[in-house]
């Protein structure tokens, strides 16, 4: 990892930027009611079952959905304050957003997708190399694999030099090997990015592996005090699942085997 890649991204005005979020929104089956904060360089995982309201939370942070009552701030900047009728548009929030589905502009090449909102072309080149898609720069998203498309999506979000990175189950549609590689890559670069990262996942193992902090979200309700207990029990739960359940254990075993095969092939 070349640390100098991230050097030009330092913005003194945002040193110590904290994303503070308090959201309430009436959904069809329950009320979403959460409050949390995320510091720069920290990866916060919103963990919970499908339909718990996790994606809605980051969609509201990005400005793609409107809350009933909310206050969202980044450092001193107010993004949403329903009591003061403030809601700045998505384009002005400076978020990087990685969608669950493969969402690359199909009519643009990989390079043009990544460079779509980039200010620094050199940074685009570095990202393409770092995410190992430099050789695909002229390919269309429809012609590359799902794993490569999601790498492209993360590069695209990072290339605009976001102030907050939001990822909505970005690895859930990937095969085990690609999922593991991208988890490891994101874990290794999260500190250098120096921005708050919110990662939505239903995969406890993924959250335990990547996150600095976890927020369990169940039926739209988050309990920060559960986090430590939840993490510990998740580890235990995960271990027991891997040991007892054939499906869980098999997946882990396959991932390990796939990685070891790849390492052997990569060794000269």
């Amino acid at each position: 990892m070349k640390k100098h890649i991230w050097e030009h991204k330092k913005k003194p005005a945002e040193a110590g930027a904290i994303l503070y979020t308090r959201i309430r929104k009436q959904l069809k089956r329950f009320t979403l009611n959460v409050a949390f904060s995320c510091e720069k360089g920290q990866l916060l995982a919103l963990v919970g079952p499908s339909g718990a309201g996790k994606s809605t939370i980051i969609r509201i942070i990005a400005g793609l959905e409107q809350p009933d009552d909310a206050r969202i701030t980044l450092a001193e900047e107010v993004w949403v304050d329903t009591s003061a009728r403030i809601s700045i548009p998505t384009r002005e929030r400076g978020v990087g957003y990685v969608f669950q589905e493969f969402t690359q502009f199909p009519n643009l090449s990989v390079y043009n997708n990544v460079a779509f909102a980039a200010r620094n072309k050199k940074y685009v080149e570095e990202l393409l190399r770092m995410f190992d898609i430099h050789h695909l720069r002229n390919s269309r998203p429809g012609d590359i694999s799902g794993g490569e498309q999601q790498r492209c999506a993360i590069c695209q979000a990072l290339a605009r030099e976001p102030r907050v990175l939001l990822m909505d189950e970005p690895f859930s549609a990937l095969d085990a090997l690609n999922r593991r590689k991208l988890r490891a890559l994101m874990k290794s670069i999260k500190r250098e990015l120096k921005i708050p990262i919110i990662h939505v996942t239903h995969d406890i193992r993924e959250a335990v592996f990547m996150a600095d902090d976890m927020l369990p979200v169940v039926q739209g309700h988050a309990e920060p005090k559960w986090t430590l207990q939840f993490m510990l029990s998740a580890r235990e739960f995960d271990r027991s699942m891997c040991k007892d359940t054939p499906a869980g254990g098999m997946e882990e075993e396959h991932e390990d085997r796939a990685l070891s095969i790849e390492k052997k092939e990569g060794t000269p």
């Binding site: 384009r91 589905e101 502009f105 199909p106 605009r160």
Partner: protein, 259 residues
Amino acid sequence: MSFRRLAIAFSVSICIIYAGLIVSLFYFFQGPLFFSVLFSARTLYSLGLSVVTATVVTVCSVFFALPSAYALSRYSYFGKQVIDTLLELPMIVSPVALGAMILIFLNTPPGQLIQDSAHLIFTIYGILAAQFITTVGVATRLIKAVFDEIPRRYEELAWTLGQSDASTFFKVVVPMGKHGIMMSSILTWAKALGEFGATLTVAGSMAFKTETVPIAIYMRLSSADIEGTSVLVLILISIGLGVLFGVRLLASEKTYMGT
């Protein structure tokens, strides 16, 4: 007979009806007459007028239809359902009735203001107005179907990448739907080219002035010139089939460039 064979038999029967009509044109076909009618000054004028007016009207209709279709596809606003229903007006009302409605409007005080400044009745501007009113609803309906097919998440991605609504429309939505928009434009052009009822009602049928190809066909038929009529119909069919061939080529691609 299996259902598959029955269904195919129905589709073939439709083909036989249309093919029979086209082939019957050749019953009165005379080679020398074909070229003398085709290259006569009156036919060339009608052809030129039809192509120019249809092209101008298509550009205007698509220009109006693009933002209108996007609004109908993406936004919720007061009166949206009414507008959506009114788009069908040219399809519900017969073209002659639509032309009559234009004439009636031009006899009202606001319509008279337009008539005094633009002189629509019995002029080329009348042809443009009649064709525009007939095609703009169709163009909007066709382009809306293209926009409906583009998943909204591409626009959301563009917004997160710092694009405004307008730049998202021009840089993301239109390029992604360009094949569908081109197909819609070609169909709009074909509709404008074949427009007869409203054009005849508003602009009349003056040779070398407001006589488009469909009107020329009607005029030749009125004077019992079957040979001349069949030549003009063949010309119109050739243009129409050429356009449809173009549409088929474009239709082989997706209406939006999805993955």
